[in-house]
């Protein structure tokens, strides 16, 4: 890569992007206006909390025979309005919010208090209503005061010290000021805004510099110049990162300037938002890699889209997805752990909470967060560089894939297009998810047969009919060599070993399978069920092995062939992993998905992958029934797993195509 070429692209693309008014508006003007507005909102909110605490009057009804005495105690609090005329239906009044709380005083109260007994006063309130919660707190406080006085009187009558009845007393002294309570609400919103507005700052330039190139045909201008596509993409990416950094600096500066102005009016703001230039610099430093990652992902989307509008449509779900992790600080109990630091966007929002709201910088998670964001960013950038000049995407004259999917093509084709293959896979995965929830959970293992058949055969067959694609070609059903079939079998025999080792050493330390899940699977696959071993193997090994391979390696992998082995196998394995909806088996499933994809890729047929999958599933079912503790690493199990892993690797090696196998673009299947 020639750095001077990258620099030329970077300078001019940055100049071009900066002149886009949308970019300036979103990355510059919007934060400058939004943070002061949020500051005003913050002041109003903290004033509202203050007002609530000081002025809000609670409407309370006391029922029962000892109303007078309880009422007298509650009236000690001057913010309590005790209604003299109780409503006809007090419960309905509480539900309709015409009163805030209801107290039922028992009939035996006077007698009990005269002696040494105790009574129970019932307090009814609506925990979903702030006014009702406030009323309940005041009633509790008033009754607690009364209780203390009564206890003191009794102890005095019995000539006992105060500590007799309460050896350990708790004095609860809340430090939360109304300002702090307001920040509890606004704080996560501030973090969300920093992330979201910084993302907006890169979204338009990232899409404009990629999809916009297609729309204006400037991609042809660039790619007929003596430059490498990677140089162009990296130059454009650096322009996007520069704008993202600018947006991030504007956001953090606007936030801190607003906080500084507010703190001159409300000194407590400095306590809840411990701002300083140092913290601002750290916040920018840690935010930029995530913003760059988002920019790179937007560039990937821009590379796939035909126009700016198309890219906007495709990016909308991405923006929605990014909102969820950006709200991580709002989730109770979620802290910046080592694991959380690897989750994109969520890691940044949690880190910003530490940095901006708590005034701390936990170095280990912060560095992991940085490394994770840079890694995700590098992956996305590599994908963008690959896709930018991909001729299937860059110079196709047809409609946008999303639009063309809804029109039946005029002529027959041998394989699915990438858009068709990806769409049918998504539909089949969604079907599997809902059918799994609704049908399999209700009717048990036997229901997997129709679900799998619809997923692996029904949906792809329907789509191939609708899109005029040969079923055989579309699902990659082709004759495979004996070597390929044997390699599938050998890989399948050894896969349990590789899967077990990956689970034990990589997956389990991060997210292990729960014992209840293990037990449920064991029961589901038990040979003691009606039908016995053959039935279980047929339903749990044979049918899924065939149907899942037809979908993930047949339809999906074959349609991704134009993107090369790496992209096709990774995407196919990712989809296969996601389709299982088992986060605690992500690593082994992904590895098995990669193996199956490699077998199908190298043989250009789905058959070896089916042989592999069925063999692996059969062995897994047998092992579940033979051994009680698959997870055990003790003794010979580890050795057996290692030996099986050797077979797994041998099988994959056998599958590698010899020099005679051509890697030219796929010929039409007849």
């Amino acid at each position: 890569m020639r750095l001077n070429t990258v620099a030329v692209v970077w300078r001019t693309e940055l100049l071009n992007a900066v002149r886009d008014r949308r970019t300036l508006l979103l990355s510059g003007l919007l934060p400058l206006l939004l943070y002061p507005l949020m500051g005003v909102g913050f002041v109003v909110l903290s004033g509202s909390f203050l007002r609530d605490d000081e002025k809000e009057v609670s409407r309370v009804v006391v029922l029962g025979d000892a109303t007078r005495r309880v009422t007298a105690e509650l009236e000690r609090n001057d913010r309590m309005n005790l209604l003299e005329n109780a409503p006809v239906d007090p419960e309905a009044a509480l539900a309709s919010r015409s009163i805030d709380a209801l107290v039922v005083a028992p009939s035996a109260l006077d007698d009990a208090l005269a002696g040494l007994d105790g009574v129970k006063v019932v307090l009814r309130y609506d925990p979903g209503e702030f006014r009702s919660i406030l009323a309940a707190r005041r009633i509790e406080d008033a009754l607690a005061d009364w209780n203390t006085r009564l206890l003191t009187e009794r102890l005095a009558r019995q000539r006992l010290p105060e500590g007799f009845a309460r050896p350990v007393a708790v004095a609860r002294e809340g430090t939360g000021s109304p300002v702090k309570r307001a920040m509890f609400v606004v704080g996560p919103l501030v973090i969300f805004c920093i992330i979201f507005l910084s993302f907006l700052g890169v979204f338009y330039p990232a899409v404009d510099l990629t999809a916009g190139d297609r729309e204006r045909s400037t991609i042809e201008t660039l790619l007929t110049a003596p430059v490498r596509p990677a140089e162009v993409v990296v130059g454009k990416f650096l322009a996007v990162v520069a704008l993202g950094t600018g947006a991030c600096i504007v956001n953090v500066t606007a936030l801190l300037a607003t906080a500084a102005v507010l703190s001159s009016e409300i000194p407590a703001v400095r306590e809840v938002l411990p701002y300083s230039l140092g913290r601002a610099a750290w916040a920018v430093l840690f935010t930029v890699p995530t913003v760059a990652m988002f920019g790179a992902i937007c560039m990937v989307i821009g590379c796939v889209a035909r126009s700016f509008k198309d890219a906007q449509n495709y990016a909308a779900p991405l923006m929605m997805l990014s909102i969820v992790p950006a709200y991580a600080p709002m989730l109770p109990g979620l802290e910046l752990t080592t694991t959380a630091a690897t989750v994109p966007i969520a890691n940044l929002s949690l880190l910003l909470r530490e940095l901006l709201l708590r005034g701390t910088l936990p170095w280990a998670p912060a560095l992991i967060c940085l490394a994770a964001s840079v890694s995700w960013c590098a992956l996305a950038l590599a994908a963008a560089a690959r896709l930018y000049s991909h001729e299937e995407l860059a110079f196709a004259d047809a409609d946008a894939p999303a639009r063309s999917l809804f029109r039946r093509p005029p002529s027959r084709r041998a394989v699915f297009s990438p858009a068709e293959g990806l769409s049918l896979t998504v539909v089949a995965m969604a079907f599997l998810f809902y059918a799994g929830l609704l049908v399999v959970r209700r009717f048990g293992l036997v229901a997997t047969v129709p679900v799998q058949l619809v997923m692996g055969l029904g949906i792809p067959s329907f789509v191939s009919w609708w899109r005029r694609v040969s079923v055989k070609g579309g699902l990659s059903v082709a004759t495979a060599s004996w070597r390929a079939i044997v390699s599938g079998f050998v890989t399948g025999i050894g896969a349990w070993g590789a899967g077990s080792l990956l689970y034990q050493f990589v997956q389990a330390p991060i997210l292990p399978v729960l014992p209840e899940q293990t037990e449920a699977v064991r029961k589901l696959l038990s040979f003691e069920q009606p039908g016995g071993a053959l039935y279980i193997i047929g339903v749990a090994a044979l049918i899924p092995g065939i149907c899942e391979e037809l979908l993930f390696r047949g339809a999906l992998l074959s349609c991704l062939r134009p993107f090369g082995a790496r992209t096709a196998t990774i995407v196919s394995a990712l989809a296969f992993t996601l389709a299982h909806f088992e986060p605690a088996r992500t690593v082994p499933l992904f590895a098995l998905g990669l193996a199956a994809a490699w077998l199908a890729w190298s043989s250009r047929s789905v058959v070896p992958a089916i042989v592999f999958h069925v063999t692996n599933n059969t062995i897994a079912v047998l092992l579940e029934n033979v051994f009680s503790t698959m997870e055990s690493l003790s003794g010979w199990f580890l050795l057996a797993a290692l030996a099986a892993s050797g077979l797994f690797v041998l099988g994959l090696w056998l599958a590698a195509p010899g020099p005679s196998v051509s890697h030219a673009p796929q010929e039409p299947l007849s």
Partner: protein
């Protein structure tokens, strides 16, 4: 200015084929364009003209066959091939927020023009293509004819040996088209090999030394306009064109 190194063909297409699934957009296409020669690639919509030109411009990879620009293979040495090539499409393909000066400077730098020479080359191009009056305005605010002049100036910056023009006069008025025609003729005079696709048979007859007629991805006839007319028994190139692109009767 554009000095050909030899009389060897500058643009060579040899059995060039590009398949999309089971459809061959370009099918066994072969021809050459020598220095100081204008060759027209003529064909109806969807015949494979743009695919062929994109293969030669290194934008697409051939399924089979080969092509060279100034001796550089488009598949194995695309950067060297592009250094010798100027390419213009129907779309002027400019950056709407950059001025012609900024755009031309960008293109000059991408084509490896030394920094010290960029200003001079851009100044020459502005003068030659009469861009001075709007050189500082945003390209997005220019008329179609003005944009086409900037696009033509882009190809002039790096002194290419070959020009590939995909329907360069499409959508232009008479004055705009005339500027393009003048440019093409001056490029031939300067010794460049020019390959252009066009729908305008009068333009092709006027400009082209030779023409290749393409139908369904295959070259069905080549020759000078006179040879094509004579071989098809037509009196005008447009009649010869219709003769060759007509679908065979079942």
């Amino acid at each position: 200015m554009f000095s050909p190194l030899s009389r060897q063909p500058v643009i060579v297409a040899s059995h060039l084929t590009k398949c999309y699934g089971d459809v061959a957009a370009a099918d066994d296409v072969s021809f050459t364009v020598g220095p100081g020669e204008i060759v027209g690639l003529l064909g109806p919509n969807g015949a494979g003209k743009t695919t062929t030109l994109r293969l030669l411009a290194t934008l697409l990879k051939p399924s089979s066959g080969s092509a060279t620009i100034a001796g550089h293979d488009v598949a194995t040495a695309p950067l060297q091939a592009r250094e010798a090539l100027g390419f213009i499409t129907t779309q002027t393909a400019l950056y709407p927020r950059l001025s012609p000066v900024e755009f031309l400077s960008y293109m000059a730098r991408l084509h490896g023009v030394p920094s010290s020479e960029v200003s001079k080359r851009v100044g020459d191009a502005i003068e030659r293509f009469d861009i001075g009056g709007f050189a500082r305005r945003a390209c997005g605010a220019l008329s179609t004819g003005q944009r086409q002049r900037v696009a033509l100036a882009r190809t002039y910056l790096h002194r290419p040996r070959a020009l590939i023009l995909d329907e360069p006069t499409s959508g232009l008025d008479v004055l705009g088209a005339s500027a393009v025609v003048d440019f093409v003729r001056s490029a031939r005079a300067d010794g460049l090999a020019v390959l252009l696709s066009t729908h305008d048979m009068a333009e092709a007859e006027y400009l082209c030394d030779r023409a290749a007629i393409i139908r369904r991805g295959r070259i069905v006839a080549t020759g000078t306009p006179e040879e094509l007319r004579a071989a098809s028994g037509a009196t005008k190139l447009v009649e010869a064109f219709l003769h060759y692109v007509a679908e065979p009767q079942p």
